[in-house]
């Protein structure tokens, strides 16, 4: 223990008597021990402060007075105010084992009556070890001086705040603390509470009066679930030191405190980050319509009772057109005996770089509410910001963040084929199957059938010559019509050429001759089978000669019309005689 702590404690001791408030009326009964063996003594003291000196002797319930009463009085003046207390002390003993109750003492104060608490003394057989009634408070080596650790709860959720108080109980007159060690806290996150200068106060524990000082207060936040233990606190005191006495050193050790830390329920929301307590969320945006490149401040305030110092900034996703900076954290946190409370503000400064209508969505936050023992989600109203084009117009686009490569964050198999799976019967393939062979054979078969049909038709149709002869007459008439056209137009060349061509063509087709083979001798031979063959042959030759003469020399021994009629009649005569 360093000297500053010593000094503080010394000051506390000096102030202790002063802190007995001057006009406060107290009336207490106390014993120095609550368990004695037969024949041992117990000291009973009844003290009345600031209310005269009359009070009744209590019923001693079977205990025997071996000494007293001795009278004492105490008078203190502080800043001119007097404080008077009167006390009577008895020395009692038990004559038989058993429980004995010292009844209430009564005092008339003003118009009313004050009573002390009854005290029970246990008397055990001589020689047997007295069972200490206050064993639950730990192994107190010295009933006159001990230290305790008390927790506000013995069970709490992980992250829930628990108040730990370290208290010193003392019955010695002079006390000096020489060594002071806070216990090790495994599994807790702790936060000191400033308690200022605390004085001594009077407190009766199990009927024994003590002067009590709170050494320290701490807020504990369990960090893991399961059984946790606050290790014993150790300190060393020197008592009864005075000018004449070196005093004696006493080592104190509190009992450890067991604590159960409950795990949070498993159905935590996705955005739960470990906050436990009572919380409120407020989101403020200083303005919702700005020009591009003007800053907006978004304040996210979380207030309530929780471990505010461990709260992280809620995750905000700003659009790519927004430039966002890390939030500034402003704490208004008070830590006192009622826990940690206050608010933590996250002040975001964002600058929209481009005009447009931006929906930033809601800001949400989840915590575990210790009032209802359930998870609660808080969400702000959606933040909508209208950004008007900034100064300088579209040139603001130039301030866009530079392009970056798309980063592959994860890989996933491509999704299943939905819709028609194009299923086919397993093991069934078109190739080399019966339908395939049939499909290949069918056109071949069709082709062969066609070929056969074609052959048959050819046979039916007979020879090509027969066909030509049948068509001869029609072709000659057609060609004569062309000559008639030349005749009507009065075109001499066209007429003679068409007439000559018609006759030549007719005869060559008729007798299956080449055009050059059409001459008198050949015609006589061909017409030999005809009835008046020679005459027809001569007429043909004469007409052809006349045409040729007219074509190549300016000689016309007959009018063209007459020649045309002759040719037509000749063809008719040939056809008629052929038909015989």
């Amino acid at each position: 223990m360093n000297w500053t702590a010593r000094l503080i404690l010394l000051m506390a001791l000096i102030g202790s008597t002063a802190s007995l408030r001057a006009q406060e009326i107290t009336f207490t009964a106390s014993v120095d021990r609550k368990s004695i063996a037969v024949g041992e003594h117990v000291r009973l003291t009844i003290t009345l402060s600031n209310a005269g000196d009359r009070f009744s002797t209590p019923d001693l319930g079977g205990l025997v007075v071996v000494g007293g009463p001795s009278y004492g009085s105490n008078m203190v003046s502080t800043n001119g105010r007097m404080s008077v207390s009167v006390s009577r002390t008895w020395l009692l003993t038990g004559t038989a084992p058993g429980k004995f109750t010292i009844g209430a003492s009564k005092a008339s104060v003003g118009g009313g009556t004050l009573q002390t608490e009854p005290i029970t003394i246990e008397v055990v057989k001589a020689g047997s070890r007295p069972s200490d009634a206050s064993a639950a408070q730990g192994q107190r080596s010295d009933p006159n001086l001990f230290v305790t650790i008390s927790l506000s709860k013995n069970k709490a959720y992980v992250g829930e705040q628990v108040l730990a108080t370290y208290t010193l109980y003392n019955r010695y007159a002079a006390l000096e603390l020489s060594k002071f060690e806070l216990p090790k806290l495994n599994g807790f996150w702790s936060e000191e509470i400033e308690i200022g200068e605390s004085g001594w106060s009077e407190q009766v524990v199990n009927g024994i009066g003590y002067r009590v000082a709170v050494l320290k207060k701490q807020l504990l936040f369990p960090q893991r679930s399961g059984k946790l233990r606050v290790e014993p606190m150790e300190l060393t005191c020197i008592v009864n030191r005075s000018f004449f006495n070196r005093g004696s050193s006493i080592d104190l050790k509190s009992s450890p405190v067991d604590f159960t830390s409950l795990a949070l329920p498993p159905n935590a929301p996705a955005d739960f980050s470990g906050a436990v307590g009572e919380l409120d969320l407020q989101v403020q945006t200083d303005r919702t319509s700005v020009k591009a490149n003007e800053a907006i401040e978004i304040v996210v305030r979380m207030s309530g009772r929780t471990n505010l110092k461990l709260l992280d900034a809620p995750k905000l996703d700003f659009p790519g057109d927004f430039e966002a900076y890390d939030p500034k954290v402003v704490d208004k946190i008070s830590v006192n005996a009622s826990g940690m409370s206050g608010s933590r503000e996250f002040q975001y400064t964002v600058i929209p770089r481009h005009d447009g209508h931006f929906d930033l969505g809601t800001i949400s936050f989840s915590y575990f509410d210790t009032r209802t023992n359930t998870y609660k989600s808080l969400a702000s109203d959606p933040i909508v910001i209208d950004v008007a084009p900034g100064e300088g117009g579209p040139s603001t686009n130039l301030r866009y963040p530079s392009k970056s490569d798309v980063v592959t964050l994860g890989e996933e198999v491509r999704y299943i084929r939905t819709g028609d799976l194009d299923l086919r019967t397993k093991g069934h393939f078109l190739f080399a199957s019966l339908p395939w062979f049939a499909g290949m054979g069918a056109p071949a078969l069709a082709f062969l059938l066609l070929l056969a049909w074609q052959r048959k038709r050819e046979r039916e149709r007979g020879d090509v010559e027969g066909t030509r002869r049948k068509r001869a007459d029609g072709v000659a008439r057609k060609r004569l019509r062309e000559a008639e056209l030349g005749l009507d137009q009065g075109d001499r060349n066209v007429f003679y050429a068409a007439l000559s061509k018609a006759l030549h063509g007719y005869l060559s087709d008729k007798f299956n001759l080449g055009v050059a083979e059409v001459n008198t001798n050949e015609l006589r031979q061909r017409f030999a089978t005809y009835a008046d063959g020679n005459e027809l042959a001569d007429d043909c030759a004469r007409l052809l000669t006349a045409c040729d003469m007219a074509r190549f020399a300016p000689v016309e021994d007959k009018p063209r019309r007459e020649l045309y009629e002759e040719a037509a009649q000749l063809i008719q005569r040939i056809e008629r005689s052929a038909r015989k």
Partner: protein, 252 residues
């Protein structure tokens, strides 16, 4: 009537499988819903029951995805490979297979990269193993149609054109049949297999206790060369050959 026969046959076979195909379609819809909900196990069961009688590249993709989601990479690879045999060059199947192969422990050798890659694969196969067989039917019909035209047409010009193009059609027909044969062999081939056990010792001889040549792990693809004494002789892509028990393999 003779020409109609094959078509009638096709029609009857189609209607025979149409009854079960109706059930298969509803099962596929159920599986798709389950997969969308993240229940790969239910989806897999439904797809598996479809796969008893039916098959398609899409079905194999979906089954492979279910296995992948269930964390069984070897089965996923097996089904992706089966799908790729039906539809070589399918982008989804190839992408998923590549992803699954990344989780395979063995890296034996890089697969030989073909210059035209997926384009050639798609020409070769496309999404339909019957593609070339069907084309060969069309080209066969075209060939005989042109031949008929060459006989029936009058005039030397048109006849010559028809005859020449029928010759070209005949060449194309031969190509189609060759492709169809190749594709059919590829689809029916079961020479390749995937290792299904976490770790397999590949031995030097087909008997227990012979020398261990190398150790292979789940998901590795192998070629099965022959079977003897209830053992498979397998070959790795890098040419190494060894013997292993058939239980550790599943043929693609």
């Amino acid at each position: 009537m003779k020409q109609l026969l094959p078509f009638l046959f096709v029609l009857t076979t189609m209607s025979a499988s149409a009854v079960t195909k109706l059930e298969a379609d509803s099962m596929a819809a159920r599986a798709q819903r389950a997969y969308a909900m993240g229940d790969a196990r239910t989806a897999l069961a439904a797809y598996d029951s479809i796969a008893v009688d039916h098959n398609s590249a899409a079905l194999q993709l979906n089954i492979g995805n279910c296995w992948f989601k269930l964390g069984d990479v070897a089965h996923a690879i097996l089904h992706y490979e089966r799908g790729l045999r039906l539809a070589p060059g399918d982008e989804d199947l190839q992408a998923n297979l590549d992803l699954a192969n990344e989780q395979v422990k063995d890296r034996i050798a890089e697969k030989p990269s073909f210059a035209l890659g997926t384009t050639w694969a798609r020409i070769r196969g496309g999404h339909d193993p019957d593609q070339w067989a069907r084309r060969s039917l069309w080209v066969c019909a075209l060939f005989f149609a042109l031949l008929t035209a060459a006989i029936l047409l009058r005039g030397r010009g048109p006849r010559r054109i028809a005859f020449t193009s029928s010759g070209l059609a005949l060449i194309f027909l031969a190509l189609c049949i060759a492709f169809a044969v190749a594709r059919h062999n590829e689809v029916v081939d079961d020479g390749q297999a995937i290792i299904m056990e976490p770790k397999v010792d590949v031995l030097g001889e087909p008997r227990t206790g012979s020398k261990v040549l190398f150790v292979l792990h789940k998901g590795t693809k192998l070629t099965v060369l022959q079977e003897a004494n209830g053992w498979y002789e397998v070959q790795l892509p890098n040419g190494n050959v060894g013997w292993m028990p058939p239980a550790a393999l599943e043929r693609i």
